[in-house]
Subunit: 129 residues, 2 copies
C-alpha cells in the first residue's frame, strides 16, 4: 500500500492511542524513515517539525511507547498507533495525555486531568522531547 | 488561548473519537472558520484539503457528528473532538471507523473491521464527503 506522505511534505499525522484504556495520548508526525524505525524496533519514533529531525519517544524521559498495532485510514494519509506506555504519562508537562485541557466555547481552556509527575524531575534541563 | 493554525498553513489536525466507545473514527483538518462553525453548531465541520473548502460531516450521508467535548494538546497544535455519531459509521467505504485496516510489518494492509453499510446506497453518485 502506498501511504500519503506527499500530501503534507513527507509527513503523516500519527495518532497515539493507549491500547488498554483507548485514551488518546498524543499526536505527532511520522515520515517514512521514522515509520520504518518504529516498525523495525516496535517502539514509537516521530519526526519533529520544530527540530527538523527524527526522535524516539522516551529518549529523554525513558517513557518509551511500545507499539501493539498500527492502523491506516481509508485515504492512507493518517496512521493510528495503539501503544502500551512505560511511564506515568507521555506529556512533557507531566500529564498522562497531552490532551489534558478542554477547549471551551469562549475560546479559553480548562485543565481536566490530574498531573501525574513532575516534568522537571523527568526532563531536567534537556527540555521537551 | 492561541491555537497553532500557522504551523500547517492555517490547518490543525482534528482527531475524531467516539465519546462512548473511545474508538478513533477519523482524522481530518479544521481551519479557524470550520472550528468556529463546529463550536457554534455543535456539529463537526472540517476543511477539505483536496477540495479546498469547508464541509460538514454528514452533509451527504446524514451521518452528522455531534460534538460532546473538545480537547487541545499541550502545544495547541492538535485538537481532539469527542463525538456522538448519528449513523452506522463515518467512513465513506462503509465502516464505523476510517481506520478499518491494520498496517502490517511487510507494508501490506489487512481489513480488521466489519463493513456496516453499503456506501453506494448512502453516498449515491455524489462521491465521498
Amino acid at each position: 500500500m502506498e501511504l500519503g506522505f506527499a500530501k503534507l511534505g513527507g509527513l503523516i499525522p500519527a495518532i497515539i492511542q493507549d491500547d488498554g484504556t483507548r485514551e488518546i495520548l498524543m499526536v505527532g508526525f511520522v515520515n517514512q524513515e521514522s515509520l520504518a524505525l518504529t516498525q523495525r524496533s516496535g517502539e514509537m519514533h516521530f519526526f519533529s517539525r520544530s527540530r527538523n529531525k527524527l526522535w524516539k519517544k522516551g529518549e529523554t524521559s525513558g517513557h518509551v511507547l511500545k507499539v501493539k498495532e498500527i492502523r491506516v485510514d481509508c485515504d492512507a494519509d493518517a496512521l493510528l498507533f495503539r501503544v502500551e506506555g512505560s511511564g506515568p504519562g507521555v506529556c512533557h508537562e507531566g500529564y498522562r495525555s497531552c490532551f489534558f485541557r478542554e477547549l471551551q466555547s469562549d475560546g479559553t481552556e480548562r485543565i481536566v486531568e490530574e498531573r501525574q509527575f513532575d516534568p522537571k524531575s523527568v526532563y531536567e534541563k534537556k527540555g521537551a522531547e
